[in-house]
Symmetry: C2
Subunit: 519 residues, 2 copies
């Protein structure tokens, strides 16, 4: 069953040895390997200090941190509602801004005063890089080549930041036209663009054509997770046909660019974790794969929380083996909508990555994993360097947790798994491969004080004795159960059952399993 | 979302009104509706009494029972390893048999003596129908048209009955050639034909061409569930490509026949319940659907037990909305491999049909539901007449049960859900829509005597009080729990949890939910 694939990989390895170029760049059908990292269009510019005449070096150092972290494919995002480079077809972020005036520029007046300084710095840095004659994406790509990373461009296909304030300088002209907004929604996504309009599709097409013309990349990603709401309510099925037809044109541009450049260029898409959600929103990835329109599919949660159970085996069945299948990691862990957030928790990241690689994805894909965040650099590099390999990941402490899905199909009646009040409740949660010998496993749940003494927990049919309790705010308790090794068969088909020991229903707020070397 | 489909249905209704022909016969893209019934190639001939000069009437009466039972599409199976009609390209069942000699014909010598009489009757009846100048499939088709049923031919694509006895007159020459057998298996399926051989594919193609030439049907079904093992072990992926290419030719014949006949002819396939099983065996139904090669997909268990949880929603996502999706019913209910069998249990049939229609299939498909069996005719007709409609089915007592999967991908490590020994165990079992007001629901499980007093049962998180116990053979007990209405939300996402009330693991042999009007 694997001979064809093995042959492709073998050829790829030979080619790499001969040319010192990346696998992705040389072999049309080779899958991506290693670790994929999406670098958004603003983080560098929000944080960088750009000395006179030195913008290129600052960019290089930024890319170097990513390379040193073991990233093999850097997906450089260059747009939201404007571009972070001097585009000829889209407005740039800084168009209309006068850096001499800084924060006092009337251009920034629509921004809340407390946020103006940061935005001025963002625009100032973008402008400064450009003023120094440095083309940011080109420089990132060049440094990627030097550091043996495969460079991609990633385009956000429907970013909606600040859409409650249409005067915000974040928007370009097109986003201020109500006739282009998708219909039938209120709230955050109400003013996303409706891709049924040719004007919208043409706007993105122009950007795609420009980046393919201008930048020598190994791949182009269309990021439909910023945002996945592309059509008016009820028009998703018709919309999916429009989008697939449009994507066929885009594939044509990719293939032309590939011919022009003399090397393969891949097309990737980011879509919601669950096939049914993607399909319900008009993102017909199975057809895109079947028709060989896309080479990379990233199945991923959206911002609010990471997922530990992306249905990657189902995706694989839908997509076949040709496409590189990536599982996406977000940086937030929430156990239920509105719950306290754990941000950049290394154990959660390791657990989510183990779930991705042990359930049939080819690679892990990182989103919003910024080097300048709350994550100290050495730990960041150590963690990311493990993410190319299940063997390395298995040696890190990790957590698997029940979370929820933020992206819904319009009209869908979705209920998050937690919190839940029941006399008995079961959770399917893949716990990944067996931990190293001598490691401990703990199940951790959160309940109310009244339920703390009336709760039993079973993993894969084996009761886990209560080991520890800890008081939490709001009259909650954290219960830690000792999980016998026999309860972890390492087959990723794990079931956690929580029951009331008496007749009263209990309320469960959090469910996790933690694997760690300590006692 | 539904406008296109609604338009098709509307056109279909008009066309039916104008022509008095069935929907299926008139509209290329109309889905099948009603109830589909597969009539195997032997049941009529095993049981019929054929008076001189009257074969046609006897066939008509047989078809009439099916029509009166509310069947809308009759799939007439005409072959196993021979044909039940006078084929020009395959041997007929009776070729080589001398009806004058009857049971004493040396042709029957390879058959065990106690089985010879029945087989002689089978062959004698087939021969007699032919001798009277009646073409059985043609007569069935004609009577279907008179009774406003849509006639199909169904072909078994790899029947393996009696393959442990290659001298059995059931086999034709092709099946006695070891070089055509699939490799890498022992047991019942070891001597199935390997479709990698052009000789095998050509043999079936000849039969397909003949039936399309000879019989004016609305559809042709390729029954890959007799049997789904078409390739040597490890060659399923390559095999699937061969099969899809071959199927493309067959679709061509279908389309030619359709043109010749002046009405649409559909192509259907029967495949295993679960997409992953079908794909793993080389039956790439998603591609067949995508490439518009097939119009009907029947997802179905094999013989040993019916399924109450065919993943029809997953099938729908894989196939899209164009294809008619049917869920298959078998006549046996087994709770675990080797368990006692309940045969033709009307409550189980109703439950399985409810599961099919409430989970996204268009229609129920009956296999081995013979009118001459242990099922008295009035009950048979009443039950079948309800199967076109979820509303009618809901008014019948029904059972939903945990069963198991008989068809495995070679090398797959499959474990049946029952029996199971655990301290706690959960089962996902769709229980269908809410029962009528005033109905009762009971969960029924089977455990050992020692566990009977130590078991708790929860449905959808609500504990069900023990209502009744009943002694069973072998030191087992049947426990009946009263299920509160609040535990049945009618959303088909039901979970049954069984736990030990103490510290000892319990063994569960059977899990069912029964819905009934009684107290």
């Amino acid at each position: 069953m694997t001979t064809v694939y093995q042959r492709v990989v073998f050829v790829a390895v030979i080619a790499t040895a001969l040319s010192s170029l990346s696998v992705a760049a040389n072999n049309k059908d080779a899958k991506l390997t290693g670790l994929l990292h999406n670098e958004d269009c603003t983080d560098f510019f929000y944080n960088a200090i750009i000395p006179e005449g030195n913008a290129g070096d600052v960019i290089d150092r930024y890319v170097d941190v990513i390379a040193d972290a073991g990233v093999t494919v850097l997906l450089c995002n260059v747009n939201a509602r404007r571009t972070n480079y001097r585009s000829n077809v889209w407005e740039a972020f800084w168009d209309g801004y006068d850096p001499e005036k800084g924060e006092s520029d009337p251009f920034l007046t629509p921004i809340a005063p407390e946020l103006r300084k940061a935005y001025a710095r963002l625009l100032g840095n973008m402008h400064e890089v450009h003023r120094q004659g440095v083309d940011y994406p080109a420089r990132v790509i060049e440094r990627c080549r030097q550091r043996r990373m495969s460079p991609w461009i990633s385009l956000r296909m429907n970013d909606v930041h600040y859409n409650d304030n249409l005067k915000h300088p974040f928007h370009s002209d097109l986003w201020r036209k109500p006739e282009l907004f998708r219909q039938g929604h209120v709230g955050y996504y109400a003013r996303a663009l409706d891709f049924k309009h040719a004007q919208v599709r043409d706007h993105y097409r122009a950007l795609i054509v420009e980046v393919l013309e201008r930048y020598d990349v190994d791949g182009l990603e269309l990021d439909f997770m910023r945002e996945p709401y592309l059509f008016s309510k009820g028009e998703e099925v018709d919309g999916s046909k429009i989008l697939t037809t449009w994507l066929r044109d885009i594939r044509g541009f990719i293939d032309q660019a590939s011919k022009r450049r003399g090397h393969p260029i891949k097309l990737g898409v980011r879509v919601p974790s669950e096939p049914r959600t993607a399909l319900g929103l008009g993102l017909d990835a199975p057809t895109w794969s079947k028709d060989r329109l896309v080479d990379l599919l990233v199945a991923t949660p959206r911002w609010e929380t990471m997922h530990f159970d992306i249905p990657l085996a189902e995706w694989r069945r839908l997509l076949g083996n040709r496409v590189t299948l990536a599982g996406g990691l977000e940086v937030r862990y929430c156990h239920y909508p509105g719950s306290p957030v754990e941000y950049r928790n290394a154990e959660c990241a390791a657990g989510a990555a183990v779930a991705v690689l042990s359930q049939g994805a080819d690679v892990v894909y990182l989103f919003n994993h910024f080097q300048n965040g709350d994550w100290p650099e050495p730990g960041y590099k150590r963690l990311l360097n493990a993410m190319s390999s299940l063997d390395k990941l298995k040696k890190l402490p990790r957590r698997h947790a029940v979370t929820f899905r933020q992206v819904h199909v319009p009209g869908e009646a979705y209920r998050a798994p937690l919190p839940v009040t029941r006399q008995a409740i079961s959770f399917h949660l893949p716990l990944g491969p067996l931990p190293p010998d001598g490691w401990k496993a703990n199940a951790v749940i959160e309940v109310t004080n009244k339920d703390a003494k009336a709760t039993r927990l079973f993993i894969n049919g084996i009761e886990c004795p209560l080991q520890d309790t800890k008081a939490l705010p709001k009259g909650h308790q954290q219960l830690t159960y000792s999980t016998p090794n026999s309860a972890l068969p390492g087959r990723n088909e794990d079931t956690i059952i929580v029951t009331a020991s008496g007749q009263m229903a209990i309320t469960v707020f959090r469910v996790e399993v933690r694997l760690h070397p300590g006692s």
